[in-house]
């Protein structure tokens, strides 16, 4: 890690737009924060201790802060693994509470199904997380405020966004590690699509597709650059993700304060080339996703790398030299 990394676009945009207040988390030296790769074999392991470790190792000062956990809750299919595992979210909820957060909420705005609570029930959130409904906000139906985009990459000039997100001190993106049939991989940055309210834009949030998917992901990242990322890679999804793919056990949780660095690292674990992922290039530039610029902690990428099956149309995303083994 070098302390002389050039100022990234997202850092510049954040400063110019004064958006730090949107999701600041009280940390001091974000540039030096590593990406943690933590080996976790199954969802039966002590995920609470894992979350405590992440909070501690990343020096997250969340005392008195309002924290929002944003899982990836899309659809439910008992034959595959579409959503962030509820045990991960429950463990994070308890760990952030124990670390002194004033309030911890779980919030999501699914893109296809309108009945978010029914979906959460099917996906096991009610049975796993005590009093789930009292800690959950459906972002599709939340109060909204119009936010202007400064130097947008997409065709959008503004977005209506939920008050729950705009008013929090720390947004924690908790995606599932999955392939995506349009953009290559869906991780902590793509997970921000769930912030956009269906109550305004509909189900699906088709406005984002017409404005450019990669570009909109980059724009959302520019609005919430200080999002903390915790990726559920214990069992990911390969093939025709993000909904119709097949489970792919990886046995890792990846975390960090720089979503670009976290997502680029996840791509390498999945043996996808982050430099071919459009939204990573837009958000950070080609250089910023190079492995040498991203400090790693915990496991080495090579020791957990797992070749995710890709649709034939996406083979160009494959990390060169990744071979054909697992």
């Amino acid at each position: 890690m070098s302390s002389s990394r050039p100022v990234t676009r997202r850092q510049w945009v954040a400063g110019a737009a004064g958006t730090a207040a949107l999701a600041g988390c009280g940390r001091s030296s974000r540039e030096l924060d590593p990406v943690s790769i933590l080996r976790v074999g199954t969802y039966s392991e002590d995920l609470y201790a894992l979350m405590q470790r992440i909070i501690s190792e990343h020096r997250l000062d969340i005392r008195g802060k309002r924290v929002v956990l944003k899982p990836n809750l899309v659809e439910f299919d008992s034959n595959t693994v579409i959503n962030t595992h509820p045990k991960m979210v429950h463990a994070a909820l308890e760990a952030f509470r124990a670390a002194g957060a004033a309030d911890v909420r779980i919030a999501e705005g699914p893109g296809h199904r309108r009945e978010t609570l029914d979906l959460a029930d099917s996906a096991g959130y009610f049975s796993t997380i005590p009093k789930f409904e009292s800690v959950f906000t459906d972002l599709n139906l939340d109060e909204v405020t119009k936010v202007n985009l400064v130097r947008p990459q997409s065709k959008l000039n503004s977005l209506y966004l939920p008050q729950t997100i705009l008013g929090c001190d720390l947004l924690v993106s908790m995606p599932k590690m999955k392939t995506h049939h349009w953009v290559g991989a869906t991780l902590s940055m793509k997970n921000l699509f769930g912030l956009v309210p269906g109550g305004v834009y509909g189900w699906p949030k088709n406005m984002l597709h017409w404005a450019g998917i990669d570009e909109c992901i980059a724009d959302l990242h520019s609005l919430f650059p200080k999002t903390f990322a915790i990726v559920d890679g214990i069992v990911g999804m390969e093939g025709n993700g993000p909904i119709q793919g097949t489970p792919r056990p990886v046995g890792v949780v990846v975390a960090g304060a720089d979503p670009v660095a976290v997502d680029a690292t996840c791509c390498r674990i999945m043996q996808i080339d982050p430099q071919r992922v459009g939204y990573l290039r837009l958000a950070a530039g080609q250089d910023q996703v190079r492995e040498k610029w991203i400090p790693q902690a915990g496991e080495k990428i090579a020791s957990v790398a797992t070749r995710f099956a890709l649709l034939a149309e996406l083979e160009s995303f494959r990390l060169s030299g990744s071979g054909s083994g697992s």
Partner: protein
């Protein structure tokens, strides 16, 4: 259902509208469904209805449409819901301007520019994209839910104001829905396949599409009715069960609903009232 109606009354905001949840600012969608439910249900309150109508009337935009809520400066699909309200109830609303706004909306994918672009790129257009449906939000593609609701709204409008353009759009909308069926015969949000992979239907959208296609023949619907009955047996969602009940009843089926899970927003509560009223022979969506 009396308890659902009473709960709806209890949830009304001081400004006359309804939130999606027990607390929160008023939105157009839950306000319209609550008004429909009050018109259909056993519990009535003329004061509540008048305050709600006032809330709606004061929010019709200069272009004739409605925004989803205060603070959003764009008319959207919710305009169809206002036009679905009983005409005798909404005398203070300019229904002609509302209908003109709806008629001006089409899915972006069926437009000449998009279809020409696909042609120039050598990409074949999806045959279902030649029919004009309705989008959730202006300038985007058409989808099943806004198309189905706008169909019902324009049919209601057309009963009082015969208009050839309205009738053409109703015909196109029906064709759009019939062309957007999933491989299992039902409907999801409107994307039947992506990159060669087929998608399956959802219970709630299948129910709503069946309701909007209330004039379709059994041959046109194929296995959709049997699928709707299967979805209903398996569904625990009040919203899905209500749409399926409404959709199956208009095709002469006698749907039976199992136990639904108890977390219910304002829209599912209102739909529950409307589905029960339809069982009693009062289907406000098609009457």
């Amino acid at each position: 259902m009396v308890s659902y109606s009473q709960e709806l009354l209890d949830r009304q905001n001081n400004d006359g509208g309804w939130s999606y949840r027990t607390v929160g600012g008023s939105w157009t969608e839950p306000t319209c469904y609550a008004l429909l439910a009050l018109a259909a249900g056993e519990v009535s309150s003329s004061d509540a209805v008048q305050r709600a109508l006032q809330w709606l009337a004061s929010r019709q935009r200069p272009d004739g449409g409605w925004a989803p809520r205060d603070g959003v400066d764009e008319s959207t699909w919710v305009t169809a819901l206002v036009l679905l309200l009983p005409p005798e109830q909404v005398l203070s609303i300019d229904r002609n301007r509302a209908s003109r706004w709806l008629l001006a909306q089409t899915g972006r994918e069926s437009g000449v520019v998009h279809r020409l672009r696909l042609l120039l790129l050598g990409l074949g257009a999806d045959p279902s994209q030649r029919f004009d449906g309705w989008p959730w939000y202006p300038g985007t593609a058409a989808w099943v839910v806004p198309t189905a609701l706008t169909l019902l709204a324009l049919e209601r409008f057309d009963r009082s104001e015969k208009d050839t353009l309205v009738q053409k759009r109703i015909g196109d909308g029906r064709s759009f829905l019939l062309a957007r069926r999933c491989r299992d015969g039902g409907w999801n949000h409107g994307s039947t396949h992506a990159l060669g992979y087929d998608s399956d239907s959802y219970p709630e959208t299948t129910g709503l599409a069946l309701l909007a296609l209330h004039n379709a023949t059994p041959a046109e619907l194929g296995v959709a009715l049997a699928l709707g009955e299967r979805h209903l047996r398996e569904s625990k969602s009040l919203e899905a069960a209500s749409w399926l009940t409404l959709g199956l009843l208009v095709h002469g089926r006698t749907p039976s609903v199992g136990a639904v899970i108890p977390h219910q927003g304002t829209v599912p509560l209102a739909l529950g009232v409307l589905a029960e009223a339809a069982r009693q022979g009062k289907n406000l969506f098609v009457q």
